[in-house]
């Protein structure tokens, strides 16, 4: 829970800081992007320290809730205790499957094969093009909030927060494909 809070806070506050700094400076640059990420990191540390794990609280708050039973009930058999030990096996199995799918999806999200740019899922083709356009738009330092880069004469109305975050990463010289992989795997 603490890590989840910290990571979410880092991404959210980096984006918000980047947005404000970009609006104040009429566009993002390497310095403002780095500042935004540092602000996000500072808030993430605060969130990490200010959050407590509910599981730990329950454990310490209710230590005497277990009702005392007779001797045979309180002393489990080895088989029973082994089964109890692996009671979360389904959770870990699901987590492993999820990890496999996440790695498969995001390590091949967008990659270079010889002279070709490739994506794994054809369904991603249109979406990814738009996201790359938005990331590049933010990273190119256009005044915030920008016009729609693919629809002339209109303001950008797409919820482009995560693209702004990738734009910040691009500005601090994180490779675009690497940045997409990080964000995808973390998300």
């Amino acid at each position: 829970m603490k890590w989840l809070t910290a990571v979410l806070t880092f991404v959210n506050l980096s984006v918000i800081s980047g947005l404000f700094l970009g609006m104040a400076g009429r566009g993002l640059n390497t310095l403002t992007a780095a500042l935004a990420l540092i602000c996000g990191a500072a808030f993430a540390v605060a969130a990490f320290l200010g959050t407590s794990d509910p599981a730990g609280h329950e454990k310490t708050a209710n230590p005497s809730e277990r009702k005392p039973g007779n001797a045979t009930e309180s002393k489990p058999t080895p088989i029973r205790s082994a089964l109890m030990r692996y009671r979360r096996v389904w959770f870990w199995l699901m987590a492993a499957c999820f990890a496999v799918f996440a790695v498969r999806s995001f390590c091949w999200l967008f990659y270079i094969d010889g002279s070709d740019y490739k994506i794994q899922s054809p369904n991603n083709l249109g979406d990814l093009s738009l996201h790359l356009t938005l990331i590049k738009t933010f990273a190119n330092g256009v005044p915030l909030w920008p016009d729609n880069p693919i629809y002339v004469g209109s303001k950008l109305r797409y919820p482009a927060g995560i693209d702004l975050f990738n734009g910040l990463l691009s500005l601090v010289h994180v490779d675009l494909i690497t940045g997409l992989t990080w964000v995808g795997l973390v998300a």
Binding site: A46, A47, F48, L49, G50, T51, S52, P78, I79, A82, L83, R85, Y86, V89, V100, V103, R104, F106, C107, W108, Y111, I112, D113, G114, S115, D175, T178, T181, W182, L185
Partner: protein, 577 residues
């Protein structure tokens, strides 16, 4: 009736707190959390034993320092090329006739995805595994004692071999980690019978199977060491030798086997895309035994490992100070195996000697194997302090200290000053720094402007690795060997084998800067041709060294018209050890 606040015109003094003076003021959750963390850290630091952390710190420092200074090794280039193929195909196609287990490639893939396609990212996982290997040594403390463990861990942390190959993206470090884990599990099961040791043994075995075919040697030696230990025990009994009662159940065993099997099936089947890969689990042994017996150019004499550990003048005098004196001392101390009152140490000595005999018997020898079988001797070295009487203990400490100091000096000399020297036996088939003559200008240009990734290059020579990986992002590079030649020889850069230089020069039309380079030892030199138009900034004030005989130059930034650049074929040989 609603209670109302008191109404008064008099200024009232602030109410004093009823709480104790030491009661903390109300703060935000962040401040409270920070205080709690600081308090926890204070308590933890006060009770911390700093020696293991200092050893781990030294381990980390030696392995991370100037990690990219050594040019990529031939095998690193091949491993990197395989990762590129995994990206292209979506899975690793295990071929039992040529290559190693799949785990390393998938880990490299993940790190390249996370940190980019560069040498640092390629080596990072192995560095982490090497650090984990030293950390694993500390886990032997309940079995062999604190001092023995620390001496062994320190010896591993600073060993020239463990540092050198802990900075190489090859399989050997994985095998060392998993074999250590496996032996720790076996000894722990015998001594304590606890579940965690069952997991160590199971995951160690699964990890070895996922890494290299030579796991068979380690498993066989571990098994054969048991009856040998029984004989040793019969000859010289020690107290407290009875196996502990096992506290795990068959469900635990099933779980360990299930996880290990699932991992093996998952990776060997190419993440379920190549089920034929599973056959490689047994087909590998046929190819491997043939390679091991034949040598395939890597044949060495039986005493090769002794020359690696101890002083040797055979290779030009570079190893006269010896690479692994602590390991050699441990090996010598194995002669006094019967004197050990600790059965775990006896087992480690027997297992270590057995592995050394097996690795000496196999003709195919590459120097990095030394870390796979050499680590038990470091425990035996540490066990030296148990062999002597208290009055001699100081002398033994001094002797071990001297050995470790020599090892550290040798390690620094090898890893940071001589890491690609042809006269260092550990730098085996190591690429020379000459490779930077070609790669640095190219990568500098490409970093500045990705359009330079489309430069046309012809690499006309055999045994070109690691260049296919280094230049993997350059999409117009052709590799020509066995007499092949592009239709239009002119390009933005060329690398030409010595015996082809005249032929190529007679066909060139453009102007070029040239440099000679040698990729690695046992290989004839090559000539680099840099197109004067593209690379003139790297040769300031210098006229092109070579001007083609024809007057009409071919366009420089176009791929060959008649022959598309070839993709480098997979290598045919890779060290199986």
């Amino acid at each position: 009736m609603n209670p109302q606040p008191p109404v008064t015109r008099m200024r009232m003094a602030a109410r004093t707190s009823s709480a104790d003076k030491s009661a903390p003021a109300e703060s935000s959750p962040t401040v409270v959390g920070l205080r709690r963390y600081l308090g926890q850290w204070q308590d933890a630091l006060a009770g911390t034993d700093w020696v293991p952390w200092a050893i781990l710190g030294l381990t980390i420092f030696l392995r991370f320092l100037l990690l990219g200074m050594k040019p990529p090794h031939f095998d690193e280039g091949i491993n990197g090329w395989f990762v590129d193929q995994v990206v292209k195909n979506g899975f690793y196609r295990y071929d039992p006739t040529n290559y190693h287990g799949p785990l390393h490639f998938y880990v490299l893939l993940l790190f390249e995805c996370l940190f980019g396609r560069n040498l640092w990212a390629l080596r990072l996982p192995v560095v982490l595994v090497s650090i984990a290997g030293v950390w694993m040594m500390f886990k032997f403390e309940p079995l062999v004692g604190r001092n023995v463990t620390r001496i062994a861990a320190l010896a591993m942390a600073i060993s020239p071999g463990f540092v050198f190959y802990g900075r190489y993206a090859i399989h050997e470090v994985w095998l060392q980690l998993f074999s250590t884990m496996f032996i720790l599990g076996l000894l722990g099961l015998w001594k304590f019978g606890r579940l965690n040791y069952l997991w160590y043994a199971g995951m160690g075995l699964a990890g070895m199977i996922l890494t290299k075919e030579t796991y068979a040697i380690h498993v066989a030696c571990a098994i054969l060491a048991i009856p040998a230990l029984a004989v040793s025990y019969a000859l010289s009994r020690v107290p407290d030798a009875k196996p502990a009662k096992q506290t795990w159940s068959w469900i635990d065993l099933a779980m360990v086997l299930g996880v290990g099997t699932a991992a093996i099936v998952f990776f060997y089947s190419g993440t379920f895309f190549n089920w034929d890969g599973l056959k490689g689990l047994y087909l590998a042994f046929k190819a491997w035994t043939e390679t091991g017996a034949a040598g395939h150019g890597h044949e060495k004499a039986w005493d090769y490992w002794f020359k690696m550990m101890g002083p040797s003048w055979e290779t030009g005098g570079e190893n006269f100070t010896a690479y692994e004196l602590p390991m050699l001392a441990g090996l010598i101390l194995c002669l006094f195996c019967q004197k050990f009152k600790n059965l775990s140490l006896r087992y480690l000595a027997i297992y270590g000697v057995g592995s050394l005999v097996a690795y000496s018997y196999v003709k195919y020898k590459t120097p990095w194997c030394i870390i796979s079988f050499g680590w038990p001797f470091l425990f035996v070295l540490g066990g030296w302090v148990l062999l002597v009487r208290p009055k001699n203990l100081r002398k033994v400490h001094v002797a071990i200290g001297v050995l470790l100091c020599l090892s550290l000096v040798r390690s620094i000399w090898l890893n940071y000053f001589r890491c690609s020297s042809p006269t260092e036996p550990y730098a085996y088939v190591q690429t020379y720094n000459d490779i930077f003559k070609l790669s640095k200008p190219l990568l500098t240009l490409a970093k500045r402007d990705p359009a330079y990734y489309h430069l046309t290059g012809h690499l006309i020579r055999s045994s070109i690795y690691p260049l296919p990986w280094t230049l993997g992002d350059f999409d117009r590079v052709g590799y020509y060997e066995g007499g092949n030649m592009p239709a239009n020889v002119d390009g933005d850069f060329l690398l030409v084998q010595q015996d082809k230089i005249k032929d190529v020069e007679s066909k060139l039309k453009g102007s070029y800067y040239t440099e000679m380079m040698t990729l690695r030892n046992y290989q004839d030199p090559s000539k680099i041709f840099f197109s004067a138009k593209v690379f003139k900034e790297f040769f300031p004030g210098k006229a092109p060294d070579f001007v083609g005989t024809a007057q009409n130059q071919a366009p420089q930034n176009q791929p060959p018209q008649n022959q598309a650049p070839q993709t480098q074929a997979p290598p045919q040989t890779q060290a199986p050890h």
